[in-house]
């Protein structure tokens, strides 16, 4: 047998044009190759075709009904028509039926101007809906304070449920009721906060309309900025800088760190920090923790990363047998916030109670993380006062009329602003592992790694594995992203555990969202793998251009340990930079 795989192809005719595509290609994909983007609503390239909406119907010779292009594979000899007056009429009728059950309040909708249904209505030139309007009256569920469900706007495309069940393996969302009263709801028709929801927000990122969206907290930020007693500081996560531009006309992956800093200053923040600095700090703690476990057995292996709050939430609910394996290091934004209210406050002579920390994250789960346990609080106030998503920041910038494109590149504020390339790659799947390995190598061998680019850990494969030789020892690592892949990795560990063998891996990185934080639930809409790839390449470009690319080389990190924390895993570091995990029932009462 040869190793070269040849995928058999099929030949078909689309609108009279010959078309040869690999077997398994759908009509929708095949049509794109000849320049026809068949209108669609429920289809999303991330997901298996659910075939619900009935917009992408096409004619196939010999079939009396119209077939869904999204779900029908091209077969040899098929003769396909993707548009004719009848097809357009059917699509338009279906669209009008959908609109007859959709609230007519686009102007007040979070997706106004960025809604896939609205775009279809515009494309089809819908001027009237002949059918009587029937909008169900259903309550909005904002119980998680992270992700809001507004079932009235739901078009039942099914994306969120498929994302939640099959992509994320969480099973918090499901269809309830049937027929015309079908609606999307937390499984069991309970409040979302009582469900197993991990607040990853992938449902909101995939929703074509305004039925699921982030819990908007821009008002709280505005109020804080307006309060003269407060010293408002802000930090931006690694993945924000490569995606926020999409809201202002940039291509995905454009690195816009300087312009984002500038925009934040113009919004009124007194100091602009960078979560990447926090990431460098996280690496110092986590890599040290790893080295202690790996070399000295100071805790079970594998060590599992914990910077992703949706993942820690999932683990506490679905995989509590791994609690002991979790890195106790807080996530970068939590570490940075703790440093802002202690170290920074001390250096600047500020009252920590007057410091108001806003974090801008690609993530909806961060809204929950900042209050998830006592360790996230400085007394009564959380270290991070409010966490907003990339989308919310983009709106704030637009509200002010700031011409983002014309902004100058600015620098972050000292002493929590300088970052290394290791800090920035936290935003992509595999990045935390790569950053940790760069420093772990140094900590173990006291020498820099010969090549700090761990390429097998990059890219969009669901599970990436690598073995690394350090000081004569073989290190087995894995990086998994989009939650459905994690069980595979955990099962391998469970299997070796059961047999009493060496663990399958020594170190595991998990990010809940597809592509890692670049594909986070709070990022600008419209992400698919191509967008995620481009955002990630922006991240790696930022890394490559950095003068320093390993966390332990960050002079401000060195200074922080020298002046304030002592050493990684010191008592003070433990107090401020670490947290703990506990078993939590899947269905909270």
């Amino acid at each position: 047998m040869t190793t070269a795989r040849t995928i058999p192809t099929v030949k078909a005719e689309i609108n009279g044009l010959e078309c040869e595509v690999p077997e398994g290609t759908t009509i929708l994909q095949a049509a794109e190759r000849i320049g026809i983007r068949i209108p669609r609503l429920c289809y999303h390239p991330d997901l298996p075709a659910w075939a619900a909406c009935g917009i992408c119907v096409v004619k196939v010779e010999g079939s009396p009904k119209m077939l869904r292009a999204c779900a029908t594979p091209v077969e040899d000899g098929m003769r396909i028509t993707t548009h004719d007056p009848e097809i357009v009429r059917v699509r338009k009728s279906v669209l009008q039926l959908l609109l007859s059950t959709h609230p007519n309040d686009c102007l007040r909708c979070p997706r106004n101007g960025n809604c896939e249904l609205q775009r279809l209505a515009a494309d089809f030139g819908i001027r009237e809906v002949p059918f009587a309007s029937r909008v169900a009256s259903l309550p909005t569920d904002d119980s998680t304070r992270a992700v809001v469900l507004n079932p009235e706007k739901c078009v039942k495309c099914g994306r969120c449920a498929i994302v939640c069940q099959r992509m994320q393996n969480v099973w918090a969302l499901e269809f309830v009721g049937r027929g015309d009263s079908t609606r999307l709801a937390p499984t069991g028709d309970i409040q979302l906060a009582e469900s197993p929801c991990i607040r990853c927000g992938q449902c909101s990122a995939h929703c074509p309309v305004g039925a699921i969206y982030e819990h908007d907290e821009t008002d709280r930020v505005w109020r804080a900025l307006q309060n003269p007693d407060l010293h408002c500081v802000v930090q931006i996560a690694p993945a924000v800088r490569v995606a926020i531009g999409e809201a202002f006309g940039y291509e995905p992956g454009t690195v816009l760190t300087g312009k984002t800093y500038a925009a934040l200053r113009r919004l009124g923040f007194q100091a602009v920090f960078d979560t990447n600095f926090g990431a460098d700090l996280t690496i110092m703690e986590e890599a040290t923790e790893f080295v202690h476990r790996f070399l000295h057995g100071a805790g079970p292996l594998p060590l599992i990363t914990s910077c992703c709050p949706a993942w820690t939430d999932y683990m506490e609910k679905y995989a509590p047998d791994f609690i002991e394996n979790f890195s106790t290091a807080k996530s970068p934004h939590a570490m940075l916030a703790a440093m802002a209210k202690t170290y920074y406050a001390q250096v600047k002579g500020l009252d920590p109670a007057k410091i108001y920390m806003v974090s801008v994250m690609p993530c909806t789960a961060k809204k929950f993380e900042i209050i998830r346990s006592r360790e996230m609080f400085d007394g009564e106030r959380p270290y991070v006062n409010v966490s907003i998503t990339t989308r919310e920041l983009a709106r704030m910038i637009k509200e002010c009329g700031i011409d983002f494109m014309e902004l100058p590149d600015e620098e972050a504020d000292s002493i929590l602003g300088y970052y290394t390339g290791a800090g920035t790659i936290f935003g992509a799947t595999g990045g935390v592992m790569e950053a940790a390995l760069r420093t772990a190598h140094y900590l173990i061998t006291k020498r820099e790694a010969p090549d700090i680019n761990f390429l097998p850990l990059r890219g969009l494969d669901g599970v990436k594995e690598a073995t690394i030789e350090i000081a004569g020892r073989t290190l087995r690592v894995a990086a998994a992203h989009w939650m459905n892949n994690i069980e595979t990795v955990l099962d391998r560990v469970r299997e070796t555990r059961r047999r009493g063998e060496e663990p399958a891996y020594h170190f595991i990185e998990v990010m809940a969202c597809r592509g890692g934080c670049v594909g986070g639930g709070g990022q600008p809409y419209g992400a698919d793998d191509e967008v995620r790839r481009r955002r990630a390449s922006g991240i790696y470009q930022d890394d490559a251009m950095s003068q320093k690319r390993c966390s332990h080389q960050n002079p401000y990190i060195q200074k922080l340990y020298a002046e304030f924390l002592g050493a990684p895993l010191s008592a003070r570091a433990h107090e401020l930079l670490h947290t703990h995990y506990r078993r939590r029932p899947v269905y909270a009462r």
């Binding site: 119209m66 009728s93 007859s100 059918f131 029937r134």
Partner: protein, 592 residues
């Protein structure tokens, strides 16, 4: 003192209206006057169903069958036949020499293949099934036929899926047989859900082993060793009988490992559905068995290639399977000799509605609706006028009187805008409003839509609301236009058969009864008086004699009037139930 001869006089509605009562009393009198009362008993019976030839008189035990008997024939029957043992030839069906029931075509209108054991054997006793050649087909298949032989016989038989769509059974089996997989499944679809249809329930209740035997044969033919029967939980008796049958078949080694010592393994498990109509759609059914919400997924891939748990799966409905043992025993060619060019064998119908003899019948394909309704069914109840027959349930359509003589098979029904469907056959009379009836069917599909795809979920409800407007006097010409728009979108863009066919009843009724819709819309009038919003009851003062009957019948007491004075209906309180209209003996209550 036991009688030795019995004279049965049909006292069904139809025969009754042609003087069967008079015949009964004259026969009784003649028996007495001939001194036969100790020997001959005259009894009134239920309808024989042979109403066109009524009144009918049957003599037992010799099973002589007299048709079109007049009261004045009574004396001759008694004097000649009963007293002297000489049948009255001029009254025999078809003239002289056609006395025995088995020779009368009417009794051959029905032909029982599927229902061969129903009402005959004890379904909870496997030995009675075995006594009637039960499991002989399986034994034959396992010992003397290859899987190819089996499929060949099914191909020759021309058997098509009885669940509704009529897909050739042998093709399904062949796809699954040829699919490359070490594990395959056979599913019996017993998720019968059409309103008015209960063929599958009765078959499973009356003859559960026929389905089990057929599943094992199908398993042998396609290479499956496990079968599932997906049956709705609302059929507790059928489930019980299946459980008993499964236990008995396993005990005798007719299911399980090494069946009849041939080395073939096959077993069957029951899976209960929660009564969602859409789960009769095969991909939704599979989802339901797998433990998911019963929602269809697009085909292809077809279950025959990728079905239950991703494995090749044959799904056949109960009635389809029940034919299989007979096809094996009597041969595909025998089966193919019954029926029409394209549709072979018989079809079981659940005959209901405004027909005298409602019930479960089985007729060869190609039988006309007229034969079913007027011969077997005994005609319309209460001597009313036939209006339409509905076949195919909520996926079918209405057939008007002008097509009653069409021989029914898959193709002819489709041509009429209906479908064969699973076998519900509902008869409507002049009192049924066609718009109202179709609203009923649509309400059913709207209720039973799984809610997945937009055309069905929203289109169905929208269409239902449009029909409601029409029945409540808010209809406009635009409504009909909208119904066509929605129907077209549903037919073309719905994901599964439920949505694609849901507009059929409305569309076919618009074709045949468009005038009735027009009257509802333009004249705001419901000719059959069903649509309450369009009906007003008033009392004609010149006809009312003041008997007070209507006032006493009125459930809301809205009729006022002194005794012997014309009464008046208070229209503001009238609920239009029509009780007064039915009660009045003087035609004084007017419905408009």
């Amino acid at each position: 003192m036991p009688y030795s001869q019995f004279v049965l006089v049909c006292a069904g509605t139809a025969c009754d209206s042609c003087q069967s009562r008079e015949i009964y009393s004259r026969l009784t009198a003649a028996v007495r006057s001939q001194g036969l009362e100790g020997r001959v008993q005259v009894v009134r019976t239920g309808c024989f169903g042979f109403c066109a030839q009524g009144p009918v008189v049957k003599v037992l035990p010799d099973e002589t069958f007299y048709v079109q008997v007049r009261p004045e024939d009574a004396g001759e029957i008694v004097a000649e036949h009963l007293a002297k043992g000489r049948p009255v030839k001029r009254l025999l069906y078809g003239g002289a020499g056609r006395a025995a029931i088995a020779d009368i075509p009417f009794y051959q209108k029905q032909f029982r293949i599927v229902l061969r054991n129903c009402g005959v054997i004890d379904p909870e006793n496997i030995e009675e099934y075995i006594a009637r050649e039960g499991y002989e087909a399986l034994a034959t298949v396992l010992t003397s036929m290859t899987p190819e032989d089996v499929i060949e016989q099914v191909r020759i038989s021309g058997l098509r899926g009885r669940g509704g769509a009529g897909y050739p059974t042998w093709k399904k089996w062949t796809f699954t047989k040829n699919a490359d997989s070490d594990v395959k499944y056979v599913i019996c679809n017993a998720d019968e859900g059409d309103p008015g249809a209960y063929m599958d329930r009765s078959t499973l209740e009356g003859d559960p082993h026929s389905v089990l035997e057929a599943m094992a044969i199908a398993g042998y033919a396609v290479g499956a060793h496990q079968g599932y029967i997906y049956i709705r939980a609302e059929y507790p008796l059928a489930i019980h009988r299946l459980e008993v049958a499964l236990r008995q078949a396993r005990e005798l080694g007719l299911l399980g490992r090494d069946i009849l010592g041939t080395g073939f393994d096959f077993d069957v498990e029951l899976r209960l559905g929660a009564g969602a109509f859409v789960c009769g759609e095969e991909t939704a059914l599979i989802a339901s068995i797998e433990g998911h919400r019963g929602m269809p997924v697009p085909r292809p891939p077809y279950p025959a290639v990728r079905g239950l748990w991703g494995r090749p799966t044959v799904i056949n409905n109960v009635e389809t399977l029940a034919n299989i043992p007979v096809i094996i025993l009597k041969g595909g060619a025998w089966f193919a000799s019954i029926g029409t060019e394209t549709s072979k064998g018989t079809k079981v119908f659940a005959l209901t509605g405004k027909v005298n003899n409602s019930g479960l019948i089985e007729v060869p394909m190609g039988t006309t609706l007229r034969e079913i309704i007027f011969d077997i069914g005994g005609g319309i109840k209460g001597g009313k006028r036939f209006k339409a027959a509905q076949t195919g349930g909520p996926s079918g359509g209405v057939i008007p009187e002008s097509f009653l003589d069409t021989p029914i098979d898959y193709e002819s029904l489709a041509k009429l805008g209906s479908i064969m469907g699973s076998g519900g056959l509902i008869v409507m009379d002049e009192d049924d409003c066609i718009v109202d009836v179709n609203k009923f069917y649509l309400e059913f599909t709207v209720d039973e839509s799984c809610g997945k795809c937009a055309p069905c979920r929203i289109g169905g409800r929208t269409m239902f609301n449009l029909l409601t407007d029409i029945t409540e006097g808010r209809g406009t010409v635009g409504h009909i236009e909208q119904i066509h728009t929605v129907a077209h979108a549903m037919q073309k863009a719905s994901l599964c058969g439920l949505g694609q066919t849901a507009p059929n009843p409305v569309l076919s009724s618009l074709t045949y009864f468009g005038e009735e819709y027009r009257v509802h819309i333009k004249e705001k009038r419901c000719p059959s008086g069903r649509c309450r919003a369009l009906v007003t009851y008033t009392i004609l003062a010149d006809k009312c004699i003041g008997c007070t009957l209507c006032a006493r019948r009125c459930p809301v007491n809205c009729i006022r009037g002194e005794r012997r004075q014309p009464h008046v209906i208070d229209l503001s309180r009238c609920i239009k139930c029509g009780e007064c209209f039915k009660a009045c003996k003087f035609g004084a209550v007017q419905r408009s």
